[in-house]
């Protein structure tokens, strides 16, 4: 398949999806409050462009802050877990337990502590994005080939050095893999929080639209989320390629 087709593929698929969608909505005469047609959604996007745009920026900001916190915290905890069996054994189960709790149940508590607005949204994004990073980093560390560690151990390197020089670089493919998961989760987290407790943000806007039964606007919000998600993901994928190009050698030929 030629390079050009591959370049075009995402657009073609998206276009195809929208066409099928539009087609089925018309064919089966699906009512707008069940599934609005892309044209309805497009109309809503045009009409409500300003709120969509400003709210998107707000959500983007909270997501980014929460995500950055999750990256720092997740990487640190993942490394700590890979580092020490005691930390692993003690902390991991708690973390898993915590992660099995829907974050939407935690948001009200955050609101009581921090009021509504940006802080709980940031924290929710953080809490939800944090876990995949920890798990993947810990998995990456656990699967390092002992031969690679030996190179440093033979030099009398401290555990810290081995972590820095082998552990971290070697688990980067796992880490970046998790970032791609975490960024979309962070997004979901801040949106969820905004639906419960915020005066702005896409989540807030969607709930407001929902309580108006402005279904096309709700879907416009979903589309905005999808677009933002793709952009953020692409940023992560780009970063991944820059940082772990060495691991993606087979893709280069």
């Amino acid at each position: 398949m030629s390079e050009r087709w591959i370049k075009a593929a995402p657009w073609l698929w998206t276009l195809g999806l929208f066409l099928i969608w539009e087609g089925s909505v018309r064919a089966f005469d699906i009512e707008v409050f069940i599934l609005p047609a892309p044209t309805d959604i497009w109309a809503a996007i045009v009409k409500y462009w300003t709120p969509i745009w400003t709210n998107s920026l707000q959500t983007l900001m909270t997501t980014t802050i929460g995500f950055v916190m999750a990256v720092v915290g997740g990487l640190a905890l993942g490394l700590a877990i890979g580092w020490s069996r005691a930390i692993y054994a003690g902390l991991y189960p708690l973390m898993i337990g915590f992660n099995s709790i829907p974050k939407v149940a935690v948001v009200p508590i955050l609101v009581i502590w921090f009021g509504i607005g940006t802080v709980p949204a940031v924290l929710t994004a953080f809490l939800i994005a944090f876990f995949p990073i920890v798990v993947n980093v810990a998995t990456g560390l656990a699967t390092i080939e002992p031969e690679m560690e030996d190179v440093l151990r033979a030099l009398g390197a401290k555990k810290m050095d081995i972590m820095l020089k082998v552990g971290i670089p070697r688990s980067m493919p796992y880490f970046f893999g998790s970032l791609k998961i975490a960024i979309t989760l962070a997004f979901v987290g801040s949106v969820i929080s905004e639906t419960v407790a915020a005066n702005s943000g896409i989540g807030h806007m969607m709930l407001a639209a929902q309580s108006q039964f402005n279904v096309p606007l709700v879907w416009a919000g979903l589309v905005a989320l999808a677009v933002l998600g793709i952009v953020m993901y692409a940023a992560m994928a780009w970063l991944e390629m820059r940082m772990t190009g060495w691991a993606h050698r087979s893709g280069q030929r």
Binding site: E147, M148, D150, V151, L152, R153, A154, L155, G156, A157, D161, K165, V166, P169, R170, M172, T244, W246, A247, R249
Partner: protein, 263 residues
């Protein structure tokens, strides 16, 4: 007599998945400070295992391992090791791989920040000594097998270790490159006086470079013959064509043949 590297009655068995492989049993050997020792023996007899023991990468089940008069209870930091399998870190360029020990071992580690340029030059010189000038910026997987092995050798040498452990460092090289590197090793050893343990399958290599050659038995390995090589130093490469030299090579050959037959 205790040597600089001193293994006494060492036993080592690998365990895993229920089975046990006894790699070394009752191995005793001592290498003096500044000495160049070579270890030869049949494939799979435990030579690499011996190297890992001496650097403290693994611990014996029985017996003692001492380096520099201290019992080895973990990796020793005075050693430089060239593994049999080059195991370069794929995310580092060749130059960065070669400079890795400088980031770990004192006093280079302290100095590296300030004197990076000088150290980089040192590493590049070392690379060009082994014939890899200009390949520093390449990644290890962009090198040929023999080139990787040569980079591996540089990595073992860069930090001026007191103890140099070389596990078949010249196996993938053509005869000429190999002989060139023999001479490099010979001169370096004369200049810096590090203690060296070299594992090799090439008996000529062992006899040319070493002060003493240790012959190991088939697995479970132990030292069955210890052969002093008394050619005066510096040894010219032409030595390898002399009759006396070849006699020793033949003698060692005989020992190994016995070791294999006994297994």
């Amino acid at each position: 007599m205790t040597g600089f590297v001193d293994l006494r009655d060492v036993q080592l068995a690998y365990s895993g998945h229920g089975t046990e492989t006894l790699a070394l049993d009752g191995l005793t050997m001592a290498v003096n400070r500044g000495e160049f020792a070579a270890v030869v023996g049949p494939s799979g007899c435990g030579k690499s295992t011996l190297m890992k023991l001496a650097t403290g990468l693994i611990r014996p089940q029985a017996g003692t391992v001492e380096v520099a008069a201290r019992e080895v209870d973990g990796p020793v930091s005075i050693a430089g090791m060239a593994f049999q399998n080059p195991s370069m870190l794929p995310w580092r360029t060749t130059l960065q791989n070669v400079m890795l020990p400088l980031e770990i071992v004192q006093p280079h580690r302290k100095r590296l920040g300030r004197e990076r340029a000088a150290y980089t030059q040192l590493a590049e010189e070392l690379l060009s000594v082994v014939g890899l000038a200009g390949f520093g910026a390449k990644y290890p997987w962009q090198l040929s097998g023999g080139m990787q092995q040569r980079a591996n050798l540089c990595r073992a040498l860069i930090h001026d270790p007191e103890l140099l452990m070389l596990d078949e460092p010249f196996g993938a090289l053509d005869a000429f490159t190999r002989e060139e590197l023999w001479q490099v090793m010979r001169d370096l050893h004369a200049e810096k006086g590090f203690t060296t343990i070299l594992v090799t399958h090439d008996l000529r290599e062992a006899v040319f470079l070493a002060d003493r050659v240790f012959v190991m038995s088939a697995r479970p390995g132990r030292i069955i013959v210890e052969h002093e090589i008394s050619f005066p130093r510096p040894r010219p490469i032409d030595l390898t064509y002399e009759a006396g030299f070849n006699d020793i090579v033949h003698e060692l050959r005989g020992h190994i043949a016995e070791a294999r037959a006994a297994a």
